[in-house]
Amino acid sequence: MRDKARFLFPFSVVAIGVALVVALVGFMEGVFMGMIDMTANLDSGHLRLVNKAFYDEEHLRPLDRALASQRETREWLLKNSKAEVDWAPRIRWGAILDVPDEQGETRSQTPVVGMGLDLKSPNSNEIDRLRLKSSLVAGTLPKGVNEMLMGVQLAEVLDASVGQSITLLGQSFDGGMVADNYKISGLVRFGITAMDKKMVLIDLVDAQNTFYMEDMVTDWLGYFPPSTDFDRYEEIKGSISASLADWTPPKDWAKDDSPIVLSIRDQQNIGAIMDKFRVIKGFVVGIFTFLMVLVLWNAGILSGIHRYGEMGLRLAFGEPHWRVIMTLAIEGLWIGFLGSVVGSLFGGSFAWYLQEVGLNMGDSFAQTGLMINDVVRARVTVGGFIQGIVPGVFASVAGTLVASMAIFQRSEANLFRELEAG
């Protein structure tokens, strides 16, 4: 460290490399996990109990394949999963919304996707889970019967506003047509363009009434506390699946109902995406590490040339080769450690800033239809720091050692001659 010329360069390389890795991993983790969380909260849950027949054709929203006996099913789930899982009943539905004018004639009409979820029970976590209070841009959350939350862009398309009465046209549980009037209680900016354009939310009980689904839901979504490992999802899923085999279904269930448990990995190809993400993240970290090793190797060689005097001297004075190499490795370790600490501070600060403030990419996502929040945020995690620090230290030590091989292979006499040549 006293020789600034040979300390600053490798130190800076490690610090910059680690800062980039920590920031990049934080950003990637944030975007990806944000997408996963969003998908889980809105659509898939971390776990999902669903009738297999419904799941196989869920794009058609076959309400006749919903699961009956809501109360018994909840009790069974509470008994056969773990207390850490919060189970939320949902009804997925699709319908046409019709907005009438003053004369009661259709002014505008559009197909929508809807979700019935528990918006009114005092112990429901759904409002917090979907951050509905903070997403509300006008009006209030549903309080009365047949009130609806509508995506803000959908309201613009329909030219509808808060308080407006609207007709929902859809298909009932038993295949008949339903038409029910709702009032728009609030407009919501979900932050996901696809949902802002197409999504409406109604209370679960209202949905059950509208679609003639008394005591029925299409899905039971299970939610774990934040930061629960994906492996835990699979573990609980396995235990529920095992219990399902011995389960005597409630008497109201149809004979061919066959409930299955899915984790988020099993749905919408998310497992494959997760695996790819891990590979990509590994590549990013690997490439940065490789580049750091390359640069540090060259820095080590330059430093080695710069230090031939010192090396030759130390060998001439009788320091064994292995000790010279070990000293260099320890120097590399220190430089790697200090560079990593400083790099982590910078990279971590940047990631933290992106986590707290976020980066609005709504314009870019507008046409994608992906379930990605318009404001992407980084995620500062211990793993992100580890993925920066470990390669940083490794690169520094490896770079120094690779460079020092040149010194190791030189005889003392050669170093002595080079030392004399100046």
């Binding site: 001297l313 001439a316 004075f317 009788g318 003392e412 001659r417 030392l419 004399e420």
Partner: protein, 236 residues
């Protein structure tokens, strides 16, 4: 005659240069006594530095033996040679080779630290050695702040501080002016008397020969003559 410190027995050193062999030393035999103050002289390429490298255990002879106080360097492993240098040899270089980021004190301390000694245990010894070479006022300065003569004094202090049996000085006055050369040689002569460490120079500086007690001339890798101050001359 003093006790024999080093014996060279029919030492040859052949380097391969490209496709050809170059004989740097050819059948050199001689003895160096403890406390000697001698020099290898000769033109460039005559083998002066090679013989210093061999005596210092930095290189191995192609044939022949080098015996240091009864131990054959040829039979030593790399680590044993390192220990031999660490414990017995001090080096002085033409270009001083001080570590630029270290102070005078730290440069002199350096070989003792390599020997595994603690700074607190050798502080007085280092300061005394710095004072001995007349640099007590410069102890905290870096080499860049010193003159060439002062740098070479630091190098002498560094070579002597571990109390070696032998000092190898490769062209120590080549970069110095006359006055500084004289001072350095007088200092080395004085320290040779005081510390009894044998000093072997390699030089073609004729000023050095005025101070030494024995002069071995090398030509084309052979000893052409071996002259001692007492007038005895051995033609080879």
């Amino acid at each position: 005659m003093s006790e024999t410190l080093i014996t060279l027995e029919r030492v040859c050193k052949v380097y391969q240069v490209g496709e050809e062999n170059f004989t740097a030393l050819n059948d050199v035999s001689l003895e160096v006594g403890a406390g000697a103050f001698m020099s290898f002289v000769g033109p460039s390429g005559s083998g002066k530095t090679t013989v210093l490298n061999l005596i210092g255990g930095l290189d191995r002879p192609t044939t022949g033996n080098i015996i240091f106080k009864g131990a054959n360097l040829e039979k030593m492993s790399r680590d044993q040679l390192a220990a031999y240098r660490r414990e017995n040899i001090g080096f002085i270089f033409q270009t001083y080779n001080l570590l630029p980021v270290y102070s005078v004190y730290e440069n002199v301390l350096f070989p003792l630290i390599l020997n595994g000694q603690k700074e607190s245990e050798v502080r007085e010894r280092v300061n005394a050695m710095v004072a001995k070479v007349g640099l007590e006022d410069q102890v905290n300065k870096k080499p860049a702040q010193l003159s060439g003569g002062q740098c070479q004094r630091v190098a002498i202090a560094r070579a002597l501080v571990k109390d070696p049996l032998l000092i190898l000085a490769d062209e120590p006055t080549a970069n110095l002016d006359s006055e500084n050369s004289r001072q350095i040689l007088e200092l080395m002569q004085e320290l040779n008397h005081e510390y009894k460490a044998a000093v072997i120079f390699s030089t073609h500086d004729e000023r050095v020969t005025r101070y030494i007690r024995r002069e071995v001339r090398l030509e084309d890798g052979r000893v052409s003559w071996d002259k001692r101050r007492n007038g005895k001359e051995i033609e080879s």
